[in-house]
């Protein structure tokens, strides 16, 4: 079994020797390789650092802010708006989700749910569920089957509450020309006509949830990181909107809210996750999370479920019985821009 794991998931670009040393561990723990160990160390290190920082910040924040908060509360008379400004105040000074304690996470979730209720009168189901042990998500895309229907794109937009005004889409479907191979330069990712069009084939890209993602390294405030189940996520409330991650992503996987995102209240998907499809604000990054709100509850991402052709396969790479493992072991799979050493967890194959 160990052999299988190495076969589909090795960081063989850089430190071959180190990896062999580390892979002495058993079963699922072996998935990570040297890169992830470093991440883990960093995370622990940062938690320790940040407890102190959060404490400092809170004290400082309260001292400076007490006057302003009082003033704003007394001006606005009724209870609802008072509560609203209190929530806004707390939310403004909260820390980075990655470094929050469970209690802090619960508190901010409660605040966000309450804030939405105050604004719209309806409740959302906001989860802060952590990664399950022994889970590492991966994705495979069958180029032979995709017909370019874009049902995945629509399902994604509806599921993930993307801004309707700017028509933000996490998934891009590239219409390629037959006989030209995988030529992205000549492909069209904004086509609007009946599909499948003669002389074309189709291929989708989105965030590949790299195992060595360049985007998380460059973030100056650690607002984006790799979760234990391999999902690369963003804390929308911690992001300062510098867009450095966007420049660092070789796969065009990230999107920015150039304006305040608008989703009509009736269309809002109320089943949300803190790191997933909860409503975003102006000036922050977002991207595909493999539908964290669904996949952490054992469901497939919306794009996989919506695909009418069955070209999209999703699953747990650590489960030897999973469909994704079958694909990786039995098909001739490849990944895009492997030379960059990003180790995407998104494979392509053909029948």
């Amino acid at each position: 079994m160990k052999k299988h794991i190495k076969k589909w998931f090795s960081l063989d670009l850089n430190d071959k020797k180190k990896k062999d040393d580390q892979c002495g561990c058993s079963g699922g723990g072996c998935n990570s390789g040297p890169k992830e160990t470093k991440d883990g160390y960093n995370q622990v290190f940062d938690v320790n650092m940040n407890r102190r920082q959060a404490f400092k910040k809170l004290t400082a924040g309260l001292l400076i802010g007490a006057g302003a908060a009082n003033a704003s509360c007394s001006v606005t008379g009724d209870d609802a708006s008072k509560e609203k400004s209190e929530i806004e105040w707390e939310e403004y000074f909260k820390g980075n989700y990655k470094l929050m304690s469970d209690e802090e996470r619960d508190n901010t979730v409660d605040r966000l749910v309450r804030s939405y209720e105050l604004r719209t009168g309806s409740k959302v189901n906001l989860s802060s569920k952590d990664a399950e042990p022994d889970v590492l998500f991966g994705y495979a895309f069958n180029i032979s089957k995709c017909q370019g229907y874009m049902d995945c794109v629509n399902a994604c937009v509806e599921e993930n509450n993307q801004d309707r005004d700017s028509q933000m889409q996490y998934i891009r479907i590239h219409e390629m020309n037959d006989g030209k191979g995988l030529n992205f330069g000549e492909a069209d990712d904004t086509y609007y006509h009946e599909v499948p069009a003669a002389g074309h084939f189709y291929m989708g890209t989105q965030c590949f949830h790299c195992d060595n993602p360049p985007c998380i390294e460059v973030c100056p405030v650690e607002a984006t990181w790799r979760e234990k189940d391999g999902l690369v996520v963003i804390d929308y409330d911690w992001c300062i909107g510098c867009r450095y991650c966007m420049a660092a992503c070789p796969y065009d996987g990230r999107r920015f809210n150039w304006d305040t995102p608008e989703v009509p209240e009736v269309e809002v998907n109320k089943n949300q996750h803190y790191l997933g499809n909860r409503l975003r604000k102006k000036g922050v990054m977002e991207k595909c999370t493999f539908c964290i709100q669904r996949t952490r509850n054992g469901k497939n991402p919306a794009c996989v479920e919506a695909c009418p052709t069955g070209s999209r396969i999703f699953g747990n790479l650590l489960d030897p019985e999973s469909e994704i493992r079958w694909v990786l072991e039995n098909k001739k799979v490849f990944r895009l821009k492997e030379d960059l050493g990003t180790e995407p967890k998104f494979w392509y194959f053909m029948d």
Partner: protein, 402 residues
Amino acid sequence: MKVFKKLVKDSIIHMTYGRRSYHIWMAVLTVLMLVGMFCYSLQLEHGLSVTGMNDRVSWGLYISNFTFLVGVAAAAVMLVLPAYILKDIDFKQAVLIGEGLAVAALFMCLAFVVADMGGPARLWHIIPFIGVFNFPNSMLTWDVLVLNGYLFINLSIPFYILYQRYQGKTPNPKIYIPGVFISVFWAVAIHLVTAFLYQGLQARPFWNNALLGPRFLASAFAAGPSLIIIALAIIRKFTDFKIEDKTIKKIALVVTVAAQINLIMLISELFKEFYAPTHHSESAYYLFFGLHGKARLVPWIWTAITMNVTATIILTFHKLRNNLNILYFACALLFIGIWIEKGFGLIVPGFIPGPWGKIVEYFPTLTEIGVTIGIWAMGAFIFSILARTGIAIELGEIKFKK
């Protein structure tokens, strides 16, 4: 403390008096700053959608200007070295101006970065020990450190010197010389770190290039001192501050060498991109010749190259360079040429074509241009104040009286 209070008071009095042309200049700058603030308020309200940037070209005019101005700030202080360490008297007058310019450029840099942020209200997240500072992984955190450190150095050294002069004392070299040494190394660091910001991205082949850092330095040491020469020329004309021809000519020599090196590196870059073009040369093709009929940057880059080459040729000939009027002209050409080349000529093609070959062109909107002009006006305003006070103290026009 009493001295400091008096200094601030005297400076403010001195800043607010002056001849008519000075008042007009400051009034114009104030109006431009107000226009910039209005444009920025639009941006705050509607988000960065009021700019020409989008998901395909996600950095534009702001980051371009930021990059260029880091160079200006870095170069200004390179004049410090000969003045304080080599005891080269000629440079001494230029140094104060240079450091004032560095401070102004740094304030502009910081303003451009803040203007580019999607969530300026959340900027406290980046403050070390209060927010989360992703050091040393993110080059942006390095940049925050070096830029602010450099700003601190460049404020404190001239302040110490002027503060002593103000009281009629001679500044103690043992106190400021170590600072000067640090600031020279720091100047190289801020520009290299800023280059690494782009150079380290494997996703953007146009930037992911070992020559980027050195080329940043060369172009900076051409553009920065050019601006100083122009500033000195203006100061010489309008104030009693005595700057000898010799000083200007010496700085012109620095500019010349830097401009020549910059051209050599440009040739090396062009050779690499076009002799055996690969997939990674597409951005360069877009920049210099246009790609698939999209060629918005082509006139700009050729203008820039023409300006650079012309200026370098003028500077290379002693006869032309030693004629001050021609020198000023060449410096202006060089400054604008490098502004185009190291500004949007560098940043925008990094995003074109996009990771999947999509070509979406970028052009700044009026709001974006308004904010940019406002920030430049702010820089000029800061520089005017600093230069005016500094010169007055140096000339002994304002002195501490008990």
